[in-house]
């Protein structure tokens, strides 16, 4: 076990944390599979409108990677196939029939997992449609099956605003979690790194076996998987590592022990726009409206995920595949008189240019206003203290903007993802989309091979 104390970064203490109380949500009338949730997937439809599907029936099949598929979280009928610009697939909506009849897959015991070969385990995950939960760095896309990553990281710490409390989620699931870790251990010759918060209490985390446990302390983005990799086993050119979210480790365990495609999802419903901020037990791909229990959504933004990295899905949207959080915050857009001059006792800022910065910290209320217009980057000393990796964001940005791939790689772009720069984007006085530029850089590098 090793400990890391990260001194950079910053937490946003947003209003609307979820109470430690689980509400069971009954099976919604609709569940959705959203191809755009799966980074790197080249989806081909395996169903058409009207088809009858079971839990675990293939919905999307990858055009390039043999055996890679995304399966249905519900039994019922395919009700809608929605497409967007250039006919890109947006969502496949399944009308549930309430039976949750499931395709059955092979069952294992905890002991028999240990005797399986890597090939068998990989095939089992692919076959059951659970492979997409394993993602790889660089590029944060679905892992390539049958490859041997130098390490697998279990992302068991989350420092995003109002992120679900993993201790709470893991309560009563000690056994299962370990079984999931055992499966992952089979997939690599390297180590499985379990990265947990310094104050993690859940026994599932603190007493996990066959893994390297690392404790991290620090503010956001210390909880990001990039930070963990950076300090434990960094990604260099030619390397690749895999990573899995905590709840997905539980789902792996459930698949192996129960022989069914697991559809349960524990999610935190958060934000000041929610009537009851609680944890909900729901389904993968659930409509956000089913989770909000009568909250008034007028003038609100529904985000699947956190305010820093989530997606605006609208009041009629569905929970994204990898998300275990919904955040509802008020929309901004109010124009204020002479905003550059007001003292700002209630204006939230990382800088020291508002009176609020000198008042004692309390939970803040934030809306979606940009609080300024786009400008050239002038102030270049805000990024450094907000990134936890030992990289130089300003110079990395410059390398990407000038399309200098060699420099960008040397400056460590392969170790990063868009999400690691969300705080930089947040704090930039010129309102530069720092994360977006980094993503462009990564796309550029991926394209060039």
């Amino acid at each position: 076990m090793s400990n890391f104390r990260i001194r950079k970064g910053k937490n946003i203490k947003l209003k609307g944390a979820a109470e430690r109380n689980i509400v069971d949500i009954s099976l919604p009338h609709q569940l959705a599979v959203q191809p755009q949730d799966f980074p790197g997937l080249k989806p081909r439809l395996a169903v058409k409108v009207g088809d009858v599907v079971k839990v675990g029936s293939p919905i999307l099949i990858d055009k390039d990677v043999e055996g890679l598929k995304v399966v249905s979280p519900a039994s019922g009928k395919v009700a809608e196939i929605n497409r967007g610009e250039k006919r890109a697939l947006l969502s496949i909506v399944i009308e549930t029939d309430g039976n949750q009849e499931s395709e059955s897959f092979q069952k294992f015991t905890k002991d028999s997992i240990a005797t399986q070969s890597r090939e068998d385990i990989t095939n089992h995950l692919l076959n059951a449609g659970l492979w997409p939960i394993i993602r790889q760095r660089p590029f944060s896309k679905i892992a390539k099956p049958h490859a041997n990553p130098k390490a697998i990281f279990v992302h068991a710490m989350n420092t995003e605003p109002l992120a679900p409390d993993l201790d709470f989620i893991l309560e009563n699931s000690f056994c299962d979690f370990q079984a999931g870790l055992d499966v992952l251990k089979k997939l690599t010759d390297g180590e499985v790194h379990l990265c947990i918060a310094e104050d993690a209490k859940s026994k599932a985390l603190t007493e996990a076996k066959n893994v390297q446990t690392h404790r991290f302390a620090g503010a956001h983005p210390t909880g990001n998987v990039s930070t963990h990799m950076h300090y434990v086993d960094p990604v260099h050119k030619g390397d690749f590592v895999w990573y899995v979210e905590v709840q997905d480790v539980l789902r792996i365990a459930a698949l192996f022990l129960e022989g069914q495609y697991p559809v349960e999802r524990l999610a935190a419903v958060t934000g000041e726009g929610v009537k009851n901020a609680v944890y909900v037990r729901t389904h993968v791909g659930a409509p956000v409206s089913s989770l909000l229990q009568g909250s008034n959504l007028d003038g609100m933004r529904c985000i699947s995920g956190s305010i820093l990295t989530g997606k605006d899905i609208g009041a009629k949207g569905f929970l994204r595949f990898y998300d275990a959080q919904v955040t509802i915050i008020p929309e901004g857009g109010k124009r204020e008189l002479l905003g550059w001059l007001v003292p700002g006792f209630k204006k939230y800022t990382f800088s020291k240019t508002f009176a609020s910065a000198f008042l004692p910290g309390h939970q803040v209320s934030l809306d979606t206003d940009t609080h300024g217009s786009d400008r050239a980057i002038v102030v270049n000393n805000v990024y450094d203290s907000l990134n936890t990796l030992e990289i130089l964001p300003y110079f990395l940005l410059k390398a990407v903007i000038s399309e200098n791939i060699e420099d960008a790689e040397a400056l460590g772009i392969l170790e990063c993802d868009e999400e690691d720069f969300a705080l930089c984007t947040f704090a930039c006085p010129s309102k530069t989309d720092v994360g977006g530029i980094i993503r462009q850089g990564l796309e550029m590098i991926e394209k060039e091979g």
């Binding site: 086993d233 050119k237 990295t309 605006d312 901004g332 940009t370 130089l392 110079f395 704090a427 010129s430």
Partner: protein, 389 residues
């Protein structure tokens, strides 16, 4: 929707695409967002943004300069009354000073603003608030006697050659205000230095403290030379001495310093680096002081700090984020070397006793090189780690 918002919406229509005033949209945008916050919403993650924007950062620098502006106006008037042998009154000095200084500030903003707006219209980008700072910084480093046409020529050079040809705001290598000042210095030396330029009274000459020390005989003690010329530390610190408009008063600069450090608008590393560099270098000289050495050798560091434009330069000019180093280590080195160069230029170059402007411009040029080494160190560490795995 407020009254202002309605009016703004109405006027905006004139500037929309295809409308007669389309080309002048940057003017509309500048005025509109000056009055009201833009009220834009985020389109994707992150869904929330910090309340601060560039406008506020830039305005804060201008606020930090207010003590310097007031002291500059007062002192300009004071020097005139001194030259004419009048008795001093607060209002008299402020009035006389304002009469001299305000037109300079006005012309600096008008001429510079013209170029800024022209480039914004031609290159189709917004008018950047950075100009609010450049314009006032430039006016404050001019002598109060400067002809107004030179003010206009200088800032034109600074904005066009110093900034816009590099690609505009954020791309420039040199500090535009200092580029403008340096251009005037080399183009019109007679009006920019010497003893006759500091008080707006014909035929009156008085040497600045730096010039007094530079002219002192070898081996003389700098502080006693200054005392003989009538300069006390207190006068120099407070700024009742001849010099450029805004930079004579180290006391006013200190107010600005406190404001900039509390609001963290300026990099404290650069300012601390400047002070350290200056102290170190003046100590080196004072250790080597002898009977044959220049009087400057004996000038203690705290005198160096309050004389000439050092305080103003280190606090307001060296800290320009665009033209300074962009790494924390680099900021220390960059600041330190400015301090060293200031002392070096003051002592070694007898023709030009004021070294701050050239020291900062020189280090502006070297800032990317300093950063290069810091960045290479970062890259190397990654390579070492990759090989050591």
């Amino acid at each position: 929707m407020s009254f202002l918002q309605k009016q703004s919406k109405k006027i905006e229509k004139l500037f929309e695409k295809g409308k007669p005033l389309e080309k002048f949209y940057p003017f509309y945008e500048a005025l509109d967002t000056f009055l009201l916050t833009p009220g834009n919403k985020t389109k994707k993650a992150p869904h929330v943004r910090d309340s601060v924007d560039l406008k506020r950062v830039m305005i804060f620098v201008v606020i930090a300069l207010i003590p310097c502006i007031f002291m500059g106006i007062y002192n300009a008037g004071y020097q005139i009354e001194l030259a004419k042998g009048l008795t001093h009154s607060l209002l008299g000095c402020l009035g006389l000073g304002a009469w001299k200084v305000l037109p300079i500030i006005f012309v600096a903003y008008a001429a510079g603003g013209f170029w800024e707006a022209l480039f914004a219209v031609v290159r189709k980008h917004e008018i950047n608030e950075g100009f609010l700072v450049t314009g006032i910084l430039y006016a404050l480093v001019l002598p109060p006697t400067i002809p107004l046409w030179q003010v206009a020529v200088g800032i034109s050079f600074g904005v066009v050659i110093g900034k816009e040809i590099f690609g505009g705001t954020g791309m420039n290598i040199l500090n535009p205000a200092l580029t403008a000042r340096a251009f005037l210095f080399f183009a019109y030396p007679a009006q920019m230095s010497g003893d006759a330029v500091w008080a707006a009274v014909d035929g009156f000459t008085q040497a600045t403290p730096l010039a007094v020390v530079a002219a002192a005989p070898k081996g003389a003690l700098a502080t006693s030379v200054l005392a003989e010329a009538g300069y006390t530390f207190k006068d120099i610190f407070l700024g009742f001495i001849p010099g450029s408009i805004g930079e004579t008063s180290a006391a006013a600069c200190l107010f600005g310093l406190v404001f900039l450090l509390v609001t963290r608008v300026a990099s404290w590393r650069i300012i601390a680096g400047c002070a350290l560099g200056l102290t170190a270098m003046s100590m080196v000289f004072s250790l080597n002081q002898g009977a044959e050495s220049l009087a400057f050798f004996s000038l203690p560091a705290h005198w160096h700090m309050v004389m000439g434009g050092f305080a103003f330069g280190a606090i307001f000019m060296a800290t320009d984020p665009v033209s300074s180093s962009a790494t924390d280590t680099g900021r220390w080195i960059y600041g330190f070397l400015i301090g060293v160069l200031v002392v070096l230029i003051r002592m070694v170059n007898p023709a030009y006793p004021e070294g701050v402007m050239l020291a900062i411009l020189f280090m502006n040029v070297f800032a990317p090189l300093i950063d290069h080494f810091v960045v290479q160190k970062n890259i190397k560490r990654r390579l070492v780690r990759a090989e050591g795995k």
